[in-house]
Amino acid sequence: MPPRLRGHPLADLHFGDDQPTEAEQAAIDAIVPQANAASIVETERIVRGGRSRRHGLRHLLLPVLHSLQHEIGWISPGGLNGAAERLGVPPAEAYGVATFYELLRTADPGHRDDVVHVCVDPACALAGNNELRTTLDADGARVHDSPCLGQCERAPALFVQGVGRPDRVPADDNEEFQLPQAGDPGLRVLRRVGVVDPTSLESYREHGGYEALATAIEMGPDAVIAVISDSGLSGRGGAAFPTGIKWRAVADEPGADKHVVANCDESEPGTFKDRILCEQDPFAVIESMTIAGLATGASHGWIYIRGEYPRATARLESAIAQARASGLLGDDVAGSGQRFDIELRRGAGAYICGEETALFNSIEGFRGEPRNKPPFPTTHGLFSQPTAVNNPETLINALDIVIDGPDTYRSLGTERSPGTRLFCLSGRIGVPGLYEVPFGTPLGDLLDLAGGPVGSLAAVLLGGAAGVFVGPDSLDMPLTLEDTREASATLGSGVVTVFDDTVDMEAVVVRIAEFFRDESCGQCVPCRVGTQRQHEVLVELQGSDKPLTKQRSELIDDMALAMVDASICGLGHTAASAVRSALSLGLIGNSQ
């Protein structure tokens, strides 16, 4: 269906005098005519709880800004005006969106060189990111400090943001991919990773690909949701929400204007699992999304992926194109008579956009600010329509469940945490990398599987910056949802960052606090100011040789409680958890 292009939805928008250059106009035009099958050209959006507003092409704002950034090297006033006018978006709002993202620049850099992003988060700090930075600086590179780039298993990480040239990750060219557990017959989610040719639909089919979709079509939506529910599959992004309940809720909403979103925006420091899944098994992401679409009756699929993942993006795009060409996406998916197609969107450097409602706003062309819940995404999600959001690990689990039934899935793991779980091991560990073990595996066994801690173990950060530190006395803790909750810990997104006793833990904790300060969207007061003040307290502590005072300790607790209780979203809710666990374990805060 061709896009219905109309005049500006807001006819009296005012644009400044700055005009786009020819190159800028070309960068804009390269995006806007594209409106593939899954595009929503005209939408009605409920704005913050009441009023509605028409937004014709606004959902193309972020892709257009990406295009300008990539071709020109920054978003100039003329470029912004051109984009805003073409899309019918007020320029002030377009500027608000452009300034939200780390990968977009709104000040003239004065050059057209590529920008080299160097990760400053814990795993890369342990692996010598400072030395790397010094070398790059000496070579005259345009270096930019970056939060976690999702390559912690091959730290220190680099990401090169191209101007006029493709983005690239140098490590992609230099290393052959090798899964540490390659050949292990116990692998389920990782079974095809490193085995299948990720660029070939043919190869995917040879490894059992698309059998699950055929089975799902035969079973019908209700039976598919029933086996997912019976399996006890829960979300792997951190919140562990039961997948079957989510799919059921979306399926129960009327109409076909519903969405399935694959949340590939993992940005939790220490997380790289979804990058590897998308790079090494992209068809599995596409197939499982399609099953979710048919099961929930959604006809629109979206992949929202980190802007720092060029290879995963290319492989997913290729997989979508091949699936579409083979009738596995489109108006009649694999002869099912149902419509489902997928559009891919790139994030632009914002941790908060992994929060599902911020992700919706980002796709819709608004600032990536989370929405208050309720209403929940299952009724008011993307474009205010019913939406199921899952991450790749969760989705791929559904494939085997559909084929083998829930009992096989439940034969691994524990009663309340069935199945297997991916863990991202990094830091002071023998063989960093992505591992899959059954839920319930003790932490110490997981570390041993990865070659054991290097040096004398001091602490493990479970769940990333939003997680908690645990000490060497927790090695017996079974890695399940229930056991970690009991221990006031979390599995989060499966991050396991290992620290030995030579690590400056104060620096690590200050960096975690800085991460939250930098990544807070700024919308709600508890998080916007709380993350700032928390960082200030820790910087003060770092600069002093005295132990944390009672007053400061109380202040940290008071701020934490307000962030947990009164913030809008999970970022604020978890912004103090690692800090407080470091204090209670005595990793920081003592006299040196």
């Binding site: 807001l10 928008l13 005012h14 400044g16 704005v47 913050r48 709880g49 009441g50 009023r51 507003r53 006033p77 912004l80 005006n81 805003a84 007020p90 320029p91 002030a92 709002e93 377009a94 500027y95 608000g96 300034t99 939200f100 709104t106 914002a350 600032r367 208050n372 309720p374 300060r517 930098d518 990544e519 807070s520 969207c521 700024g522 919308q523 709600c524 007061v525 508890p526 916007r528 100011v529 709380g530 993350t531 700032q532 003040r533 200030e536 307290v537 910087v539 003060e540 007053q551 202040l555 008071d558 701020m559 409680l561 307000a562 947990v564 209780d565 009164a566 913030s567 809008i568 809710h573």
Partner: protein
């Protein structure tokens, strides 16, 4: 709503007291109905709630985190606590957070609430980040002093969806560095601003001020206690907007319109808001 004569009522408990409110009303409405005073700053009676300041949070039985009363619809059987330890704590912290980074000296209500909840901004690390913005004086109609800005979004909403549909300003940047801004922070005359002044009308902290008020304050001659307010009807067109002319020393110093006026809901256009020099 057409043809509906009777409203469905929902009954909720606020601090142990049963109150009935019409369906669609918020918890804040129910608190008002119960006579429970609630601190707010981003909430405005003429604006769609954006629930960002978190000052109006209440404890709702069955909810893990506190909920913003301004935007959460009241549902039958809800049990709400507005004065629990958790509520008092979060309100106090929000007030401390606001007063540590922002000049709230002209936000009277905020100061009263800060006292009420025992907020103590002095217990933070000395020299912490503040808004640190110069006053923007770019024309003769109104000024923007973002040192006083609490980022309540009210001006953005009034300029945009809630009243004017001009969209001259937005929130730009992220986190503590977020600021209200036109594109590339251009001056207001260069921006889409139409000088309706509806942003000034909804600003809760005086970050947006009439230039007349700003000049008098600079001269240390702003005397609200000596001012009178004269109600009249705007003489420019036939719409019939009510004006409230604030007069000091026989000079008009600013102009507002009542929030509850049928025609304006507090909003005016450039002529009504600023075009009174001829008087």
């Amino acid at each position: 709503m057409s043809g509906a004569i009777t409203e469905t009522a929902v009954t909720i408990r606020v601090d142990g007291q049963e109150v009935a409110v019409p369906e669609g009303a918020t918890i804040l409405d129910a608190c008002d109905a119960a006579g429970v005073e609630t601190p707010t700053i981003c909430y405005g009676p003429t604006l769609t709630p954006v629930n960002v300041c978190r000052l109006c949070v209440v404890e709702l039985d069955g909810s893990r985190a506190l909920v913003p009363s301004c935007s959460r619809p009241a549902e039958e059987g809800m049990v709400v606590h507005t004065d629990s330890e958790r509520v008092r704590h979060s309100r106090k912290m929000v007030l401390e957070f606001l007063t540590t980074g922002v000049d709230v000296s002209q936000a009277d209500e905020l100061g009263q609430w800060a006292e009420h909840y025992g907020a103590d901004p002095s217990r933070y690390v000395p020299g912490g980040e503040t808004m640190d913005e110069p006053v923007r004086v770019q024309d003769n109609l109104y000024i923007r002093d973002y040192d006083k800005c609490v980022l309540c979004y009210r001006c953005v909403e009034a300029c945009g969806d809630d009243a004017q549909h001009t969209y001259a300003i937005s929130v730009a940047g992220r986190g503590f560095g977020a600021r209200i801004s036109a594109e590339f922070d251009v001056t207001l005359p260069e921006s889409a601003c139409v000088y309706c002044g509806n942003c000034v009308a909804v600003c809760p902290t005086n970050a947006l001020q009439f230039k007349t008020e700003f000049d008098l304050r600079q001269a240390d001659d702003w005397r609200p206690e000596d001012q009178t307010v004269t109600q009249t009807v705007c003489s420019y067109c036939g719409v019939g907007c009510n004006l409230e002319l604030h007069v000091q020393d026989n000079q008009i110093v600013k102009c507002t319109s009542p929030d509850d006026h049928d025609v304006t809901s507090g909003n005016l256009c450039i002529k009504g808001r600023f075009g009174w020099n001829y008087v």
